[in-house]
Subunit: 126 residues, 2 copies
């Protein structure tokens, strides 16, 4: 291992933007709002699926749906500042967060968020 | 390993009763009826829990409930003739199968079924 890569390993986030207090507040609000909306979607779908259960296969389909959604939501909503531009990029791509909600973030955050949103393939909506 | 225990390992079911064609039909009917009733219970409870969901914790509680019930039902409803007296013993103990439904089985089945039902502790109802 070269000195250079060893340094990178030790300081992996050295080039990442820092988040001001105001930006942290904006990010938290947008993040919580998107998560809340997504959970409401899952709650609505779960009630719908449950009411439509006729046989045991439908039960285990519902269990599978819940497990998949829980894992996906756990993975997607990662509130670490080192991850937030990727997280918001995905949420913007999926239409789960609006540019309006991100207003007040500086360009060093908005630019990578928009870039990541545009880079994602159309079928990455989940 | 002694010759005696080696023999036991090779012929674990040598002392088990054989099931006549009539007994197999009775067992299948009783088994399927109990399983069907238990699944209907889970379906009813699931609809109830789903309708009562207010927040995300309720969602994951429902997922956990479904996973637990699926595993328990998979474990409990084991239709192998080598296991059936234990299976019916448990179902009888839990009140999920009646003596009436087992009528027609011979005493070499009913006796171990009743014994197992009586041996189970009161809190083994699941």
């Amino acid at each position: 291992m070269s000195i250079s890569s060893a340094t990178q390993d030790r300081y992996p986030y050295q080039n990442e933007p820092t988040w001001s207090k105001t930006e942290k507040a904006i990010a938290r609000t947008a993040f919580d709002a998107a998560l809340g909306r997504e959970l409401q979607e899952v709650i609505g779908k779960t009630k719908h699926l449950a009411n439509a259960i006729r046989q045991s296969a439908d039960l285990w389909d519902l269990e599978h749906y819940l497990t998949q959604r829980r894992k996906e939501i756990d993975r997607k909503y990662d509130y670490r500042y080192s991850q937030l531009t990727h997280v918001f990029g995905r949420l913007l791509h999926e239409g789960r967060v609006s540019e309006e909600e991100l207003r007040g973030l500086r360009e060093d955050k908005l630019k990578p968020i928009r870039s990541f949103a545009e880079l994602l393939p159309a079928d990455a909506v989940a």
